[in-house]
């Protein structure tokens, strides 16, 4: 097996996550799909790091994880305050700006 297969797996996971973002309505599940996409990117970075033989890819993956942690904290806070205001976690209900 060639480590390229890890890249294929990462691409597949990223695609599944992107499709989930488009399909699902529950904002928490949409957020989970975004996390899945970030994880797929991390896998690709780690696989590239191995293929190139240096550690820069792993550093970038580490930074991705830190940014993802910060993003999750803020995103979940937004979801909680949105739920408090509208009693629903559906992305369709947040349509105040619609004509």
């Amino acid at each position: 097996m060639n480590p390229v297969n890890y890249l294929y797996l990462a691409a597949l996971l990223f695609t599944i996550g992107a499709t989930g973002v488009l399909i699902r309505r529950n904002s928490i599940v949409v957020f989970m799909c975004i996390e899945l996409m970030l994880n797929a990117c991390n896998l690709a970075f780690v696989a590239f790091s191995r293929m190139h033989g240096n550690l820069d890819g792993q550093i970038i993956a580490f930074f991705t994880m830190v940014v993802a942690a910060a993003e999750v904290v803020v995103g979940l806070a937004i979801i909680v305050s949105l739920f408090r205001a509208r009693h629903s976690a559906s992305v369709d209900d947040a349509s105040l700006m619609k004509l």
Binding site: Y8, T15, I28, E35, N42, R50, H52, G53, V72, V80
Partner: protein
């Protein structure tokens, strides 16, 4: 030197691990998307993340593998589960489409995107790889640390600023300032009497001899169940149990059974007698 280290395939053990765990990861990702309840989605995603941690370890990223388990499955997924519990476990996704045909279009887009991505990777000439062995020679954690604190030190420090901003942001977003003083019990009672809506305390839920439960609505004098007797939380979740028909159903079943027995004894005593004879043979 690099020519010597270049390799074309990994070990067989890693290939077996990849195909088995890769299948698990893809199944986990698919169930994250297609599970109806958010809790199930979160658990499936946690499984996928653990599998990815194993892949990091297999790729020589020992530090990242441990961080993945500690940060992602340990902290982020638990935060997700916490919010899912806060927002409501029973709240299933609505299956109604607000834009017609959006779901199929989304699936089509995903498929096209996936094919594009895979074709891009397949087109690149990636037949040999260097392997992480030489980079990890002085230890994976040491190697990462020496890079992090020399080449990437500014990014690392900016990361600290990002984390503190995110923490403050989360606190600001979820904090609710009390703009007015909480009303006392006396003031609430006075308000109720002034408005004349419902002066006495709320009635207790219906307590039957067999159903000593709080999710059963108490009966009004005319026999209809009153939702007012059940706790507000259960009412909002729609978890009120209706047992008003159960007693009648029991009575009906009892009457039916009694009729059956009466019919047997009254109309066909001979047949029953014959049957018992056959049974004794």
């Amino acid at each position: 030197m690099t020519e010597q280290l270049a390799a074309y395939t990994t070990s067989t053990g890693e290939a077996v691990q990849f195909w088995i765990l890769g299948t698990v990861a893809v199944i986990g990702a698919l169930s994250t998307v297609f599970m109806k309840r958010a809790v199930h989605s979160a658990l499936c995603l946690a499984g996928t993340m653990i599998v990815l941690a194993v892949f990091y370890l297999a790729n020589g990223a020992y530090f990242l593998g441990v961080v993945q388990i500690v940060v992602y499955t340990g902290a982020i997924m638990m935060l997700f589960l916490f919010v899912v519990m806060l927002v409501g476990v029973t709240a299933a996704d609505s299956l109604k489409e607000t834009i017609k045909g959006q779901r199929w279009l989304a699936l089509l887009c995903g498929l096209g995107f996936g094919i594009l991505l895979m074709a891009g990777i397949g087109n690149a000439a990636l037949t040999e790889f260097n392997g992480i062995g030489r980079a990890n020679a002085g230890g994976n954690v040491e190697g990462i640390a020496s890079l992090l604190f020399t080449k990437y030190v500014f990014a690392f420090e900016i990361t600290g600023a990002l984390l503190i901003t995110a923490t403050v942001g989360a606190m600001v977003l979820t904090h609710r300032e009390r703009t007015e003083r909480a009303r006392t019990q006396r003031e609430l009672a006075q308000k109720r009497i002034r408005e004349g809506t419902y002066i006495p305390p709320l009635p207790a839920p219906g307590v039957y001899a067999r159903h000593n439960a709080v999710d059963i609505a108490g009966l009004l004098p005319d026999g209809t169940p009153s939702d007012l007797t059940v706790s507000k939380t259960l009412r909002e979740r729609g978890q009120i149990r209706d047992v008003s028909q159960e007693a009648l159903n029991d009575l009906r079943a009892l009457e039916q059974r009694a009729e059956e027995r009466l019919e047997r004894t009254a109309i066909e005593p001979l047949k029953a007698f014959k049957r018992s004879e056959e049974a004794s043979k």
